[in-house]
């Protein structure tokens, strides 16, 4: 049997296929075609395979193994619930984001009927309920369970709150015929995050239930199980690159910036501990592999909101391009989301928007410092979030890096600036672009052949 693998990503706009030979550790080819979730998901796959054959002469049907991930049909849409917004609600949100979900809403404290109706209207793929540390508050999660149980919510529900009321919450949902999964508390003790068990349950539900609900089962015959949401595959690819395997050294702590049409995702694989001794750490502990999603920073669907940010930027203010023309083009982008820029003008606008998206998204992702002056004259600093100043590798992924010409310039926007010394972004990283959009493939391959996966991933990264 050959050791050739076909990796498929059912994206919201495009279905991407990558053919890889694990024996020679070569990427044999890549191709894409518009996604066809609404009709028959296999139409897009077949077209992408045709393109693969035309461009590289590779027959994807002959690959002995197939691995797939998906962010199509709206991605994995979740609503997360906790008690205090900055504590269990934040922990629940981080668990969902780290599982590759799109968090549509985060709710906290005792819900009222209006909020339950809002959840019904959102109709999420999964509802995650947390609240109370183990042995802590019981009242709020029980109240919320009783209010939600009779509601018109068909989504699977995950209970990841106070363990003292686990069975009670489970009974409340089960008695109303809800599909309930119980797992460990996302915050068993105050200030301690425990998101892995919840992430794993989310992935199980994704494979068992969501894929079927979204009509992907038609692809099952061809690609087997759809293993995970695409953002999780990217995060796993980033993790693999950073940490390496037993025999392959990783690249060390890194940051991946995925500038997409709808969102800009930032992944950091880093401890994020203070790099200076006089700094006191505050707030929730940060996940080693952390993902944040900026829903207002996208180059296509959210081009209009992104352009509003651009206009505040001094770099854009100094641009010589006619503002009227730019705004016309931005408007065009929001209506035609699969536009690939060709002219100098279009490339320049895309680059400026990507710079602003990277600048803001990394600032929101990275931690920040604030200073305190004590009466004795001492100054102390307080850090909230991750200190990424010592991160030495920044990787760009997404269309703008694949088609664009300005990878380095865009990624420079992710770095530490003297004018804003309290934002803890990387100080002197090397920049790489994921030229053929393979990070997701690396994440999927890591489930079957991690050693080959890291070598293939590293080889195709292009330093800029």
């Amino acid at each position: 049997m050959n050791r050739k693998v076909l990796v498929v990503d059912f994206g919201s706009t495009y279905t991407k296929v990558v053919a890889i030979d694990l024996a020679s550790e070569e990427v044999l080819g890549w191709a894409q075609a518009p996604s066809t979730v609404d009709l028959d998901i296999m139409i897009g796959v077949k077209e992408a395979l045709e393109n693969l054959k035309i461009d590289f002469g590779v027959d994807g049907r002959l690959m002995s193994k197939r691995l797939a991930c998906s962010s199509a049909a709206g991605g994995l849409r979740m609503v997360a619930l906790g008690l205090v917004p900055e504590l269990t609600a934040e922990a629940a949100k981080r668990a969902a984001l780290g599982a590759g979900a799109k968090v549509i809403k985060v709710l906290s404290y005792k819900l009222d009927r209006g909020e339950v109706e809002a959840i019904e209207a959102i109709n999420p793929d999964i509802l995650l309920i947390a609240g109370g540390t183990d042995g802590g508050n019981e009242e709020v999660i029980l109240h919320n369970a009783r209010l939600i149980a009779p509601a018109e919510i068909t989504a699977p529900i995950i209970m990841a709150g106070n363990k003292s009321v686990k069975s009670e919450v489970e009974d409340i949902f089960r008695s109303q015929g809800k599909d309930i999964y119980v797992t460990e508390n996302v915050m068993p003790e105050l200030g301690k995050l425990n998101v892995e068990p919840t992430r794993e349950v989310i992935r199980e539900i994704f494979i068992e239930r969501i894929v079927f609900a979204k009509g992907f089962h038609r692809a099952k015959e061809f690609v087997g199980d759809i293993l995970m949401p695409t953002p999780l595959a990217v995060l796993r690819g980033a993790n693999l690159l950073a940490n390496g395997t037993q025999n392959e050294k990783g690249m060390g702590e890194l940051m991946v910036i995925d500038v997409g049409g709808a969102t800009t995702d930032v992944h950091s694989v880093s401890e994020g501990k203070p790099s200076r001794s006089e700094v006191i750490l505050k707030g929730l502990p940060e996940p080693y592999a952390k993902r944040t999603v900026e829903g207002d920073l996208g180059l296509r669907m959210n081009a209009a909101s992104l352009w509003e940010f651009c206009k505040q930027d001094s770099r854009v203010k100094n641009m010589t391009l006619p503002i009227g023309e730019i705004e016309k083009y931005v408007h065009h982008l929001t209506k035609h989301t699969s536009v690939i820029p060709t002219s100098d003008f279009e490339c320049e606008v895309d680059k400026e928007m990507a710079c602003t998206a990277v600048e803001i998204a990394t600032q929101r992702h990275a931690g920040s410092l604030s200073s305190f002056y004590l009466p004795a004259g001492e100054t102390v600093f307080m850090q909230v979030g991750k200190d990424l100043t010592e991160v030495k590798t920044v990787i760009g992924t997404g269309g703008v890096f694949k088609y664009g010409r300005n990878g380095r310039e865009i990624l420079l926007a992710s770095t530490f600036k003297k004018e804003n010394p309290f934002s803890l972004k990387p100080k002197s990283p090397r920049f790489f672009v994921d030229k053929h959009y393979l990070l997701f493939a690396g994440g999927l391959l890591s489930t079957v052949a991690p050693e080959a996966a890291i070598r293939i991933l590293r080889d195709q990264l292009k330093e800029v």
Partner: protein, 141 residues
């Protein structure tokens, strides 16, 4: 019986030695103390207490500005549905005691809603005894 959860931390200030000693002693005495750290705001204490179902909040401050920092804490407890929360404060509470007797200092903090106020030479044993009394727990070993 479940151990009673107590929230401890340093309000606005960084001097956390007292809190660390107290956390150790409370644990030995059978409580579930949670040290939430330094440079805290009033809201940090209250939110931690909500999430953990804590029965008392112990505030430490040693930089002399506690009276300003503590204003409104009891009111915020009321707003958060924990109006009866037991609030203690201790440390080096005022910058200078030249014109103030300890009684005045204690009274000022009690006026702002604290159940008990401790000078810097208080022993953990005293705090534990008071907690058991105020929480109606049996006085232990």
């Amino acid at each position: 019986m479940d151990r009673v959860t107590i929230i401890l931390g340093v309000l606005q200030d960084i001097h956390n030695f007292g809190i660390r000693v107290l956390t150790y002693s409370l644990k030995k005495a059978g409580f579930n103390p949670i040290d939430i750290g330094a440079l805290l705001t009033q809201e940090d204490f209250i939110k931690a207490a909500i999430e953990t179902n804590a029965k008392a909040i112990l505030v430490s401050s040693s930089y002399g500005h506690a009276l300003i920092d503590c204003q409104g804490m009891r009111e915020k407890c009321y707003e958060s549905g924990m109006g009866n929360m037991i609030l203690y404060i201790g440390g080096n509470l005022v910058v200078t005691k030249q014109n103030q007797s300890w009684g005045d200092v204690e009274e000022a903090f009690k006026q702002s809603g604290f159940n008990r106020v401790y000078p810097s030479d208080t022993t953990p044993a005293k705090v534990i005894e008071d907690l058991r009394h105020d929480l109606v727990l049996p006085q232990g070993q």
